[in-house]
Amino acid sequence: MQLDQKDDNMKDKILEVRHVSKEYKLGKIKVKALNDVSFSLERGELISIVGPSGSGKTTLLNLIGALDKPTSGSIYIEGTEINSLNEKQLTKIRRDKIGFIFQFYNLIPVLSAFENVDLPMMAASIKKKERNKRALELLQIVGLTNRKNHRPEELSGGERQRVAIARSLANNPSIILADEPTGDLDTKTGEEIINYIKNSNVSTIIVTHDPVVAMATSKIIYLKDGSIEKIEKIN
């Protein structure tokens, strides 16, 4: 399916995961990391995926983020099935549609906070003037204007994660995928980070171990042994 071909039934859904399974080979043994997982994410929705270690949370997030391909099933982002896309098209999806937030920030160490935020826009060939304006705006939103010229090693864990949030928002993505975004932070900083993500109003999936973080989302998907155990809506 081409990138611009849309599935008309999915107009309100920003993401749809349909019967996705993922198998790995460990030597000669096949390990099923995900088994027939299906769910969807609506525009502006913030959901969390929880589960014990090895339940397949990060695997699912990587599949949605086009970092990996499922063994079977389909993943649609804004109506585009990403499984069948080639590497070039997947790069475009990662750049334009998805914003990643990692547990250990994964900022480029040689670049300043400003340059880290600027980088995805640079990859998207946005004009310099526009990029500068947007990067400054994003750093202002996450409260880091005065730290814009500092490199990651000169920032605290919370500040680094705020830079990562600003970077994930740089290209106005359709979905933010956050893998344990508060895992390396203290409770207070973790709360701040979740608030920043919430305030961005972008459809977000947070993978977490932390029940407090999960309760801050509108829907919790419980994963166990690669399958969805239950989906809980939070009022």
């Binding site: 970092l67 990996d68 790069t91 990643f100 670049l111």
Partner: protein, 557 residues
């Protein structure tokens, strides 16, 4: 704890070096310790300063930058001293080949100089990189900032790569330049020694062979272009009215001499400066003029424009000094600094004027006084043809068989010296090939490690939507910028050190050198180093791009 220990060690070692350096430096001036081996002042002067600077570098953080610059400069100074000292000592090798240490000293000096220059190059790296990144920005486009930051903020990595490229290349080019220069000097050197392509007669031993009167016959022989009849007298030169010395007087044919040697770059003229060989030689055509050897001028304090009194053929005459020469063809003793081998030159015309000889008598007089001929040929490979005719002519004229003492050719000299040059060439070529191999392997490993260590960075970049092509472009650009700077700096440094080595090389009669750049070697090494650099960085970049983004992000490097 470890850091504290390291710092303490740094301080201790630094202060020790500073103290030792100061003692060594001042010992040079005040000779505190009466030890003979400290007489090599150059080592202790520069070595002392070097130690002080390393000491400062280790002890004080704030002076590190200045320390680096001074360290580089002092390495260069030490290198220069060592180089010149080594070169001067090579003169001894001319007489005694057992002193191989002097050659080692020469190369140690060269390496010090290379290291110093490249050390400074490392310091200038960020400035240069900024300029180059700016120039390359239309090609780098999106990745410009990350390329620039990567090179500058991973300074150690960049400097290591730069040093590896520049040092290897500079060393190779330095040796290549020395080789090529030695090679270029062989034939002009032989011609300089013999006074032409062929020398007939023994200037030193006039009673064995001489007083031929056959200029005209020689001129008729095929392949002979210039014929210079030479007369040599042992005369007395008077200076400062009260002093006189016995020296050699050479009487030559200026026009032919200038023509034959007009392209020989080994000739040196001390005064007047900035004139061509033709102009210098033709100064002798002025009435009552002479040119004198530099060593003689120095010893007797004679300058251009002065008058000297010469005693020739039992009469005294005053001549104007119109030039001072360093090296002139045919005057073998000008290569060594013996007081009893000093020379002045006048033209035949001046001699005839002084002796009141009529124009009609020129040829027969010159012929009867000629003790040797210096010949110029159309090609050195025709020397045997010319010699065979000459032998017949001389035999038919005076009934003498010319032997190898009476007749010498530049080509046989080249073959004779070629043996020595070949030994030097062989040794240097081996060093050259070995260093090329080592630096290419080292370079490949450095580049491979550089990219291999960046697997995680590549994973992150791909996760935020940077394409594989952009990443390869980024790695290529980084590698291109560093290797370009390394290649440029290495090439210039190699040529510079080679130039210094060759220009300070003493003129030994069998080892003349003319500074010549080996362009083929330079192009070949630059190409090889560049290709190796690019391949050894692109292969790991390509492989890193192939592994999954998840694995790349998870990797620790």
């Amino acid at each position: 704890m470890y850091k504290k220990m390291k710092r303490l060690l740094n301080y201790g070692f630094g202060i020790l070096l500073i103290t030792f350096g100061i003692i060594l430096t001042f010992n040079f001036y005040y000779d505190w310790f009466k030890i003979d081996f400290m007489n090599d002042t150059y080592i202790f002067l520069t070595g002392g300063i070097l130690l002080v600077i390393i000491g400062i570098y280790l002890t004080l953080d704030i002076l590190k930058k200045i320390g680096i610059i001074l360290f580089g400069i002092s390495l260069m100074v030490l290198g220069l001293f060592q180089l010149i000292h080594g070169i001067q000592n090579i003169v001894n090798i001319a007489d005694n080949f057992s002193n191989y240490l002097n050659i080692a000293e020469l190369f140690i000096g060269g390496i010090f100089l290379l290291l110093g220059t490249i050390f400074l190059g490392c310091f200038l790296l960020p400035v240069f990189i900024k300029g180059l990144a700016f120039i390359l920005s239309p090609i780098l486009t999106k990745m410009k900032i990350i390329v620039y930051r990567n090179i500058n903020r991973n300074k150690k990595r960049s400097q290591n790569t730069f040093t590896m490229i520049a040092l290897g290349l500079a060393f190779i080019i330095m040796i290549g330049t020395v080789l090529e220069s030695l090679d270029a000097g062989v034939y002009p050197g032989a011609k300089l020694e013999l006074g032409g392509d062929i020398q007939i007669g023994e200037i030193w031993n006039t009673h064995v062979f001489g007083y031929l009167n056959m200029s005209n016959e020689i001129k008729q022989i095929d392949h002979v272009k210039e014929v210079i009849p030479v007369h040599v007298e042992w005369i007395s030169i008077n200076y400062n009215k009260n002093f006189s010395e016995s020296i050699y007087l050479f009487i030559i044919n200026t026009t032919e001499y200038a023509k034959l040697h007009s392209k020989n770059t080994l000739l040196t003229f001390i005064e007047p400066k900035g004139i061509s060989i033709d102009q210098f030689i033709h100064l002798l055509d002025q009435e009552n003029s002479t040119i004198i050897q530099y060593e003689l001028a120095k010893e007797t304090n004679i300058k251009c424009g002065d008058k000297v009194n010469l005693s020739i053929d039992s009469f005294n005459t005053e001549l104007n000094v119109v030039g001072i020469f360093g090296r002139m063809p045919g005057l073998r003793f000008t290569f060594v600094d013996y007081w009893d081998a000093m020379a002045v030159i006048i033209s035949w015309k001046t001699l005839f004027n002084l002796m009141g000889i009529n124009a009609s008598e020129y040829d027969s007089y010159a012929g009867s006084r000629t003790i040797a001929y210096w010949l110029g040929l159309d090609s050195i490979y025709n020397d045997q043809k010319v010699i065979s005719i000459l032998k017949t002519q001389v035999y038919s004229k005076i009934g003498v068989n010319l032997d190898s003492d009476d007749i010498k050719t530049a080509r046989s000299r080249v073959e004779e010296y070629g043996g020595i040059i070949k030994v030097i060439n062989g040794t240097l070529t081996n060093i050259l090939l070995f260093s090329l191999l080592i630096s290419l392997i080292g370079l490949a490993i450095t580049m491979f490690m550089n990219v291999h260590q960046r697997k995680r960075e590549i994973g992150i970049l791909r996760s935020i939507g940077i394409s594989k092509n952009e990443i390869i472009k980024m790695i290529f650009s980084e590698c291109f910028i560093i290797s370009f700077y390394g290649l440029l700096f290495g090439t210039l440094t190699g040529i510079f050190v080679g130039f210094i080595m060759i220009n300070y090389f003493p003129f030994i009669y069998f080892l003349p050198a003319i500074f010549t750049i080996d362009y083929n070697l330079i192009v070949l090494t630059i190409f090889l180093v560049f290709v190796f650099t690019v391949i050894s960085s692109l292969i790991p970049a390509y492989l890193s791009n192939r592994i999954s983004i998840i694995d790349a992000i998870r990797s620790k490097r």
